[in-house]
């Protein structure tokens, strides 16, 4: 774990709370400190556009000129991956797909893929989930059905055919190696002062946090209440024991939006999809919307 020295521990705990997590406590960070805590070359798990994307932190990563990041889309990559690829932050992507959804192909991904600069490890959704589930269980692999006979499997020498050890007849499965990200990075509606993060129904974020060595989260707000106190809320909450650092970023999922909080900024996303089709257009987007350091919250 690499955290900047300037961080301070989360301040105080809720009055009356007896929750006491084993150290280290979750750190309260700034957006720029989140970016600094992700070393070049890190394996980073990121959610798809319809989950909770830490867009403000991604812009900070681009500003700090992160390099050689290895992205894992859980299970696919969208705007945040395309922006980081276009800004030369990314060495490889493992994902079931790269897409801007209703805005079409991910243009910077397509350009980098075709130029050969980017290593694409084509996968399928449940294989990414299985790799993360193996990591969360602390085991080397999980087997899956399907996949056999596809060119996806043919191009993944790291995926192995295995025999069902419980079958008396021949029964092949595909073993998917554990995916243990260095960092899970995402955005959520709120956290509390113990580092618990509420994600509601977006449980792929829970899976990412369970699997990753460290989890860095941006949130709309840090609340005084204990998110584990009410079982209705606790059921959709990642315990602070998995969370390395939290930064407050209001509107932090802009422009892709945060389900249940605010919608996608459709006109901005359409602008990005159009501008990113050319190198000049992408450079223009970068200068206008990513490089300016936002005013401190």
């Amino acid at each position: 774990m690499r955290l900047p020295e300037t961080t301070t521990p989360a301040e105080g705990v809720v009055a009356g709370s007896t929750v006491d997590y084993s150290p280290p406590m979750t750190q309260t960070l700034t957006i720029e400190q989140i970016a600094d805590a992700i070393p070049d070359g890190s394996l980073i798990a990121i959610p798809p556009d319809y989950s909770g994307c830490a867009m403000a932190a991604v812009r900070a990563l681009i500003r700090r000129q992160a390099r050689d990041l290895r992205l894992v889309g859980v299970p696919s990559g969208g705007f945040q991956a395309d922006m980081m690829i276009g800004a030369d932050c990314v060495q490889s992507v493992e994902a079931a797909a790269m897409t801007l959804g209703e805005y079409g192909a991910a243009p910077q991904f397509v350009a980098a893929f075709k130029s050969g600069e980017l290593v694409m490890r084509d996968a399928t959704c449940p294989a990414i989930h299985a790799g993360l589930q193996a990591a969360e269980k602390g085991i080397p692999f999980l087997p899956l059905r399907g996949l056999i006979g596809s060119d996806i499997l043919a191009h993944r020498p790291d995926w192995k055919l295995m025999d069902n050890p419980f079958s008396e007849t021949e029964d092949k499965l595909v073993a998917l190696p554990a995916i243990r990200p260095d960092v899970a990075l995402f955005h959520a509606a709120k956290a509390d002062r113990n580092g618990n993060v509420w994600i509601g129904v977006r449980r792929e974020l829970m899976l990412m946090a369970h699997a990753a060595r460290q989890t860095l989260v941006t949130v709309e707000e840090i609340v005084d209440e204990d998110l584990l106190a009410d079982p209705v809320i606790a059921a959709g909450t990642i315990p602070g024991l998995y969370i390395t650092g939290i930064a407050v970023a209001q509107n932090g999922a802009w422009p892709v939006g945060l389900p249940g909080c605010y919608p996608p900024d459709h006109s901005h996303l359409a602008d990005y999809a159009a501008m990113a089709r050319t190198e000049d257009g992408f450079a223009d987007y970068l200068q206008r919307h990513i490089m300016p350091v936002p005013a401190a919250a």
């Binding site: 798809p48 319809y50 989950s51 859980v74 299970p75 696919s76 994902a95 079931a96 797909a97 790269m98 897409t99 959804g101 209703e102 192909a105 991910a106 397509v110 893929f113 075709k114 050969g116 694409m120 084509d122 996968a123 399928t124 959704c125 449940p126 294989a127 989930h129 589930q133 899956l144 059905r145 399907g146 996949l147 056999i148 006979g149 596809s150 060119d151 996806i152 499997l153 191009h155 021949e170 029964d171 092949k172 499965l173 129904v201 977006r202 449980r203 792929e204 974020l205 829970m206 899976l207 389900p259």
Partner: protein, 241 residues
């Protein structure tokens, strides 16, 4: 068919394939299959369960992105929809690109869950509106998911039919071939042959694709139009006004 739109015909054709089922799931960016599933539900007196990815109100999943796939592997989903940038005569689908992977001439989005779901959902309906020789090819350049598997490979699911903007094919798993099932208005066996890169079987007299009846059209333009608008507002306003 003067007053039936092309989209309404396709929705109705697909809905007819879902009538006797318990649970239909629909992936992202699939307004016509989504509307078809909702029409089938409206006609089933509430028996059919529909899970629409991307919808807030018609999406029951609470265990994250993996739940759809776990459901499929257990046999809890009866029908699903897949498409392809290329689809060949053995029902192999390609969602990755054109050319010799990885140095592709054209790169598409990727395979998503097809590499898994095609094996595990009994009735997979292939849907591709563009019916041209560049889509329906003799052999796909990349197999995102194979249409058929060798004996001994665990497979409870696979292709059921291929619905296009020109016709409907059924798929014969024994013969590993498509068979022309019906022709949309204005098409003939010859016109289909001309626009299809793979060979297929057909009878002497291929029927016309059935039009939706009055009750179905009323349901489609009323209740289903309202329901699909929640997930696909632009599609709903374009097709249903």
């Amino acid at each position: 068919m003067s007053d039936v739109r092309r989209e309404e015909l396709l929705i109705s054709v697909i809905a007819d394939m879902l009538q006797d089922l318990n649970h239909v799931a629909v992936g992202a960016l699939s307004p016509i299959p989504g509307a078809a599933a909702l029409l089938a539900r409206a006609r089933s007196n509430g028996r059919l369960r529909v899970s629409l990815l991307g919808s807030q109100t018609h999406n029951p999943f609470t265990d994250g992105g993996k739940e759809l796939f776990d459901c499929a592997a257990q046999g809890r989903i009866d029908a699903f929809f897949l498409s392809g940038g290329q689809i060949d005569g053995q029902a192999n689908i390609n969602l990755v690109g054109v050319g010799d992977y990885p140095s592709l001439d054209v790169r598409w989005n990727g395979s998503f869950g097809s590499t898994y779901l095609y094996f595990l959902i009994p009735r997979v309906i292939l849907f591709r509106e563009e019916h041209t020789p560049r889509v329906f090819v003799p052999e796909v350049d990349f197999i995102s998911a194979p249409g058929v598997s060798e004996a001994g490979t665990y497979r409870t699911g696979g292709p059921h039919a291929l619905v296009t903007g020109r016709c409907v094919f059924s798929f014969d798993k024994e013969q590993r071939r498509f068979r022309l099932a019906s022709l949309h208005e204005g098409e003939s066996v010859d016109s289909i042959r001309e626009m299809t890169g793979f060979t297929f079987d057909h009878s002497e007299d291929v029927p016309a694709t059935s039009l939706p009846d009055k009750d179905s059209l009323n349901l489609l333009r009323g209740r289903v139009a309202d329901e699909i608008a929640e997930t696909y507002p632009e599609f709903a306003s374009r097709v249903f006004g």
